[in-house]
Symmetry: C2
Subunit: 305 residues, 2 copies
């Protein structure tokens, strides 16, 4: 593949940005990659491991002269970064982001940007429970979806960003911001909140000691703890900035949970059995769609016999 952007600036150097570096390099998509982080420690680590071609001290220094600037900071920090970089943005440059919420990011970022740049918000649906500049790897986006929310952005600028994400291994789909935020509330935000809650409950129980909960976690709980080990700042910002959709889905969840709770209390085995049979079919759909491994237990215990 050939270079799509001569100079790419990544603001924020966590899991997504560092994976983007590796994925862009794997396919030769960027002429030069400049990165920066608000944290001096993160900048030092990035320099030490040679993550980017250059590590800038500030967002403005990184964005200066870039053909593509990608905001890879928590959703709540996007607006301030946009305000900082706005004065130095090159005419014709594209500004994008990787935030898990789209409407709030658009509201926070767009007002700061000059008319001479293209703002094309995006969200790669990929991640692990790890964070920081050392956690990235080139394969993170392979066969995962990246949702682009183009609004009324220039078609050529959108096509170019799509080319970058496809070059990094992603499938790309475009979507309206509010639909994105609702879909993600279902597939990501509410599941994360529920996992955090369950882990919190387990920790809070004094009669079941920490060590027992940890020791016997393989029975299901450990899957929740993986999800609940994700970056706290990122997730705080997601919930604060996708409040309406998350609260709506949480309301549906609670309603459904109460129905199952009632079935348990009343001993309604048929209701439970029907419910559990139905959810099994959804798992099959995900495996058929190539969005998860069909290896038992995520392949933790490979079948050798």
């Amino acid at each position: 593949m050939s270079v799509i952007y001569n100079r790419v600036a990544l603001i924020g150097l966590g899991l997504i940005a560092s994976s983007m570096v590796h994925a862009m390099r794997r396919a030769g998509l960027a002429g030069e990659i400049v990165g920066t982080s608000r944290s001096a420690e993160t900048r030092a680590i990035a320099r030490e491991i040679g993550l980017c071609d250059h590590i800038a001290e500030t967002a403005a220094e990184a964005a200066d002269g870039a053909d593509l600037v990608v905001l890879c900071v928590p959703v709540g920090a996007m607006g301030a970064v946009a305000a900082e970089i706005a004065p130095v943005l090159k005419a014709g440059a594209t500004v994008s982001d990787v935030g898990s919420v789209k409407q709030a990011v658009i509201d926070a970022v767009a007002p700061h940007l000059p008319d001479t740049v293209h703002f094309v918000p995006a969200h790669p649906l990929a991640g692990t429970e790890q964070s920081g500049p050392r956690s990235g790897f080139a394969e993170l986006f392979d066969n995962r979806w990246c949702l682009i929310v183009p609004g009324d952005a220039d078609a050529d600028a959108v096509a170019r960003l799509r080319g970058l994400w496809e070059g990094m291994g992603s499938f790309v789909e475009t979507m309206e911001a509010d639909h994105h935020d609702l879909v993600l509330a279902v597939t990501s935000h509410t599941p994360h909140l529920i996992a955090y809650t369950m882990v919190g409950v387990a920790d809070d129980l004094r009669r079941v000691t920490d060590s027992e909960v940890v020791k016997y976690s393989a029975a299901g709980f450990r899957d929740f703890t993986r999800i609940a080990a994700s970056d706290p700042t990122m997730w705080r910002d997601v919930f604060l900035n996708n409040k309406e959709a998350t609260l709506e889905i949480l309301g549906r969840f609670t309603e459904e949970l109460f129905a199952l709770q009632r079935a348990i209390r009343q001993g309604d085995g048929d209701m439970l059995h029907d419910y559990f049979t139905h959810t099994r079919a959804i798992r099959r759909g995900i495996i058929e769609a190539g969005q998860d491994t069909d290896a038992p237990n995520f392949g933790r215990a490979p079948k050798k016999t």
Copy 2:
């Protein structure tokens, strides 16, 4: 290792029983393994793949003359199986089970058994989302815990069963039945119910089509679908038979969820950040205890760079 039981009978041939066959054979723990299933189709598959030394037509036929009989059927079916095998049990034999609930199994099974046998309930904390006689593998119990609930059973019989589980790769701990049921309500039963609920909610949402939920599941939801793909009959019986502890933990869960929901509604970022930071530490404990892989995303996307 040497033979611990000359003749082992497995009643029910699902994931746990078929894994026990492979694990016992790996270590040479059983002289002869007899299996049976209520389902003719399951018995035919077991014969076809040569799972056991002999496949019996009925539970009574399998249990006849066995030194160890293990009930590997859903919790709700244990009592009927105990009643069926009671007349043929050899004096001095051990009867055990692998049920996910212990007090209800003891209540259902113990009254049927003659005084001449040792009843030693057990519960291996291991499993995958798959089921049936083809799903077993020898490594399933390696480094996983098996909880034995000996009550007032004969110490030699308990030590012998412990030896079997250790020989199959497990760590063994003994516990009181009601404590077992509470610990499992936290580490397994409630997490499963919550996962089933979240998958049900996603499926139920008409505005977010099935295909979108499936397509974009990698953002967290797919982990829930794995848990919610477990055997429906087994899980129906778990909830019906560990009603009290599950409802108690569900109550705690709902209380906690409402507190987080309130923090989102009120925009209390500090509360959310503190909560998410705290749960992250629990994940570290589980990895340190060797109960999960520290590979990001369960090792689904191995870091190659």
